[in-house]
């Protein structure tokens, strides 16, 4: 237990100590929220879809949780190259504990990041149907965070160095984000696009958050929950397996 705790704490300390990075990481969601939120707002309204800021806010929160959790998993690459990973791998502890500590730490950081963005959304004028549903949204954030922290760990365990990083960013992280329905409704899409969005686990996370925050969803929120739990559990097992295979 103490091993998991200390590794979790380490992730948290690293996060809180990089103030500049925290502020920098809020820039992107802010840009999406303000520029797209207000820029596309009038068109969205005229198309009869209602207030775009209301619509996009859960998507932007989901995005920040996605980025933050997947990058925490990829942080493994830094630890591998700068040595700290070795320090943990030769310690007399089961690797699964290292993986759990790191993943929980990454997920916690992602949730903090998500809550910061939620606050920004509220300041920008986002209003959930009820403030009592915020804990439910937090639950969805947690599931998104765990799922993608595990995915990040699996990828981080597989890649040898930073060269694959751009590839992962452009062909995995950004597609997951853009295809998740964070920015546009998942209804009435061309068939092929609709099919791809259904394969994206983040679609269900954002749909779930939208249903609890603004009472609007494409899928049944129970389906969202089941998909997130099942895919998340599978990725955690896969991530732990990949992590157990690391050789330095």
């Amino acid at each position: 237990m103490s091993v998991i705790y200390i590794l979790w704490l380490r992730e948290l300390k690293r996060y809180t100590r990089s103030r500049a990075q925290i502020i920098a990481s809020l820039g992107q969601p802010l840009l999406y929220l303000l520029v797209l939120g207000f820029g596309l707002g009038p068109v969205f309204q005229r198309a009869g879809n209602g207030n775009y800021l209301q619509f996009i806010a859960p998507g932007i929160i989901g995005m920040s949780v996605l980025f933050s959790s997947i990058f925490s998993g990829l942080g493994l690459l830094w630890d591998r190259q700068f040595g700290f990973l070795k320090e943990t791998l030769v310690a007399p502890i089961p690797r699964i504990q290292i993986m759990i500590g790191r993943t929980m730490g990454g997920a916690t950081v992602a949730i903090i990041q998500g809550l910061l963005v939620t606050t920004i959304c509220l300041i920008a004028g986002f209003r959930p149907v009820s403030f009592f549903t915020l804990p439910l949204a937090l639950g969805f954030m947690l599931l998104i965070a765990l799922l993608f922290a595990a995915l990040g760990t699996a990828i981080g365990s597989t890649l040898q160095d930073m060269q694959g990083f751009q590839l992962i960013m452009n062909f995995l992280v950004l597609p997951i984000y853009f295809l998740s329905g964070a920015l546009f409704p998942l209804t009435g899409l061309p068939k092929a696009l609709a099919a791809v969005t259904r394969l994206d686990p983040l679609s269900y996370g954002i749909d779930g958050m939208r249903s609890v925050l603004i009472g609007r969803s494409t899928f049944d929120p129970r389906i969202d929950l089941i998909v997130l739990v099942v895919v998340g559990a599978m990725l955690l097992v896969f991530g732990a397996y990949r992590f157990s295979k690391i050789e330095i």
């Binding site: 830094w78 700290f84 320090e87």
Partner: protein, 264 residues
């Protein structure tokens, strides 16, 4: 304490360690010498469970590190050749994390951390983030950390690289002390022949993955009919300089410097 038989490690078509066998007795200080790229670090990685051998057997205190990984890991401590500290944490926090990872009880952890940081003259800087440390300070912290839990076997992979003579002296004095007082077996690599000559009970010389000589410093000098260990080393391994490409870690450091992201 350490028994290695016919150890082989290949990476693709390249044979890094080629049929190496040696024994290290309990309480012995064994120096593993060789030019860059000779296979020293690969051997240490296999001894410390970080790499699986292609063939051959290893026994650490009677344990097979391939199978009984955690039991074996409890027996040894290691100071790596490249840095393995967390730059975002302070010196004290790095010690703390290490203590927890090695199940050192809280009280002992605190007490030994203080002793060791004082010994390596880092106590005053214990609350400063490691990324603000100089190279030598980082090295000293790393060594202090290696002594935090009391291992049966201590692996030191070029521990004195980048240290000033004072710290180097401090380190070897301490290594000798724990070796004599606690019967800790020490397995070390170094490029400084005078250190090996001074500290090691026995020496193994490795080149191109093969063990080319083994014995006490005196025996090795007699074998090669040379005066100093340095001459003996050159007689055994030749005087050509080994080519080494920049590895991916160097490329990453470059990348990190460029982006200023992870300063470590």
């Amino acid at each position: 304490m350490i028994k290695v038989h016919n150890l082989v490690k290949t990476f693709g078509t390249f044979t890094a360690v080629d049929d190496v066998s040696f024994d290290v007795e309990e309480g012995e200080i064994f120096a593993f010498l060789g030019p860059n790229g000779a296979g020293k670090t690969t051997t240490i990685k296999m001894l410390t469970t970080l790499l699986k051998p292609t063939s051959g057997t290893i026994s650490l205190d009677g344990l097979n590190p391939e199978v009984q990984q955690n039991e074996a890991r409890k027996r040894f401590g290691i100071v790596f050749q490249d840095p393995s500290l967390d730059g975002d944490l302070t010196a004290a926090e790095n010690m703390e994390v290490h203590g927890v990872l090695y199940h050192v009880p809280h009280k002992v952890r605190r007490q030994r951390t203080e002793e060791l940081l004082k010994l390596f003259e880092l106590w005053d800087r214990r609350d400063i983030q490691v990324k603000k440390f100089s190279g030598g300070m980082k090295r000293r912290l790393e060594i202090a950390r290696g002594f935090l839990h009391t291992p049966r076997i201590l692996f030191l992979d070029e521990p004195t690289l980048g240290l000033d003579p004072q710290s180097r002296n401090q380190l070897w004095t301490h290594v000798k002390k724990v070796n004599e007082a606690e019967k800790v077996t020490v397995f070390l690599t170094t490029h400084y022949m005078d250190e090996a000559d001074r500290v090691a009970h026995r020496i193994g010389v490795i080149d191109h993955g093969k063990l080319v000589a083994q014995g006490t410093p005196k025996e090795i000098k007699e074998q090669t009919k040379t005066e100093t260990l340095e001459e003996a080393f050159l007689a055994l391994t030749g005087s050509t300089i080994r080519a080494e490409g920049a590895d991916s870690a160097d490329a990453m450091r470059q990348f990190a410097k460029m982006w200023g992201g992870a300063k470590r």
